[in-house]
Amino acid sequence: MLEVSSLAVRYGDVRAVKGIDLAVGKGEIIALVGANGAGKSSTLAAISGLVPPAGGRVRFDGEDLAGQPAERICRKGVVLVPEGRRIFANLTVAENLRLGGAVHHGRAAAAELEAELLDLFPILRDYYRIRGGHLSGGEQQMLAIARAMMSRPKLLMLDEPSLGLAPQLIDRVFDMIAALRERGVTVLLVEQNVALALEIADGATVLANGEAVLSGSAADLAGSDLVREAYLGA
């Protein structure tokens, strides 16, 4: 479904991503893990069109997305839930969701999808008319995911959904991600919490200093010495 090859990202002289390869198959959850500053967010930013890639290709369903503007990439079905959630704090939950579904024409379809998502995230129904800024971190993460789901993504990219959340909330967010997979959504998941990511993912790639140092099935990586020493603290 998604095939990234030799993707590079630079910020001026900083080479944040130095030509990585990555593949995500339909219906899979693929994790992209690595230390802070490894280039995970930059990779997602380049795939989503927020920053133009300095090189490489991003093939999605056979088409090269590299260099296209973010709004067009979203409409192709590749949708990013950015790091730090970035919900619109001054807008209500309802308005946040409405913008998520803005790419669709036809009110009825959007309303139906919204009702399904509110069933999946009941807390958002309770807070429907509340401003996003008043929600807790976990609730904001639910809102950010639901907002992205409103555009009916084929590939959902989540950047550190567990960041700053209490442990039991992290579990809830990961349950949600598993529930999304049941609904047929393909997920590219960026996480610093490697143990948790490998538990839910089918495959994973480890990034270090902008390079892919290891990649394989989640089970293989969880058993590899490098991952166990560097990231699982074993």
Binding site: P69, E71, C74, R75, R86, F88, A89, L91, R98, L99
Partner: protein, 294 residues
């Protein structure tokens, strides 16, 4: 009774400032640009009205043409002058808008005339009605009514349409709005279109009471509108409206109430008050939600 008349004049002037300040604030909140050429949009609208009336188009239709002219001019300005500068720093944008403003003024002076051109407004607009002891001008009352209608219309647009909600969101976090698949170009074009419409309406209300167009017509009111946006909080729409009304009311009331030997210092007094407001509240009376570009 004189006071009531003065109050109506004050609110009507405040309404014009509020419309202009709102146009500046909408553009600033979305692209981080202080558009110095906003006054020229007002002037363009005046000349379009003049031309349309000269061609024998009925008054109401001419007003519609003049509003559309200002809106289109604003969109064209963005396309031609500001879009190529997208991503540039605040100073470059500021200089660009300054250049556009100066260029247009020269075009008006040399292409049309440096002298004021009279606009024949319908008689009912420049006349007045007596309510018992009070005589109220139609121009100022129309001005108040239309300003309020425009403010309500804009509020409804921003609150209930997807594009309006997207504009409020873009003022806080433009990148994420793009991540939702909403075109950045369309949001920016809409911001300029609205600012142009508001400038056009302000021009019509300004002309209703002055009845002549000249190349510098937009200069003074837009200068006041800049001050209003700063008092209100740069980039804050509610702040711009509040600042506009406040400035208009204070100006007219000082004009009416100050003894004649202090009157020449009116603008100095107003500006001192502005400075005092900013010392107490550096981000304005109603700070913008997210002053990410300042």
């Amino acid at each position: 009774m004189i006071l009531l008349q003065q109050l109506i004049n004050a609110v009507s002037l405040g309404g014009v400032y509020a419309l202009l300040a709102l146009g500046l604030a909408i553009v600033f909140s979305i692209v981080g640009l202080i558009n110095f050429a906003h006054g020229e949009l007002m002037t363009i609208s005046g000349y379009v009205l003049l031309a349309s009336l000269a061609m024998g188009v009925p008054f109401a239709a001419s007003v519609a043409v003049a509003l559309a002219g200002a809106a289109l001019a604003a969109v064209a300005m963005e396309r031609i002058a500001f879009r190529p500068m997208r991503g540039a720093d605040v100073t470059s944008l500021l200089l660009t808008s300054f250049a556009v403003s100066s260029l247009l003024k020269v075009v008006f002076q040399n292409g049309i005339s440096a002298r004021p051109q009279p606009v024949s407004m319908p008689g009912w607009m420049t006349s007045a009605t007596a309510f018992g002891p009070v005589t109220l001008g139609h121009g100022p009352m129309l001005c108040i009514a239309l300003s309020i209608c425009a403010l309500i219309g804009l509020e409804l647009f921003l609150r209930y349409t997807t594009m309006g909600i997207a504009m409020r969101a873009a003022a806080a976090d433009f990148d994420v709005v793009r991540l939702m698949g909403i075109s950045a170009g369309r949001i920016i074009a809409t911001a300029f279109l609205l600012s142009g419409l508001l400038a056009g309406l302000a021009a019509m209300l300004w002309l209703a009471q002055r009845a002549s167009v000249d190349p510098l017509m937009g200069f003074t009111p837009v200068l006041k509108a800049f001050i209003a946006t700063v008092i209100g909080g740069l980039g804050s729409l509610r702040g711009a409206v509040l600042g506009g009304f406040l400035l208009g009311v204070v100006e007219v009331l000082l004009q009416a109430l100050l003894p004649s030997d202090i009157l020449p210092y009116r603008d100095a007094i107003v500006l001192s008050a502005v400075i005092a407001v900013l010392m107490a509240r550096p981000n304005g009376l109603i700070p913008a939600v997210n002053a990410q570009r300042s």
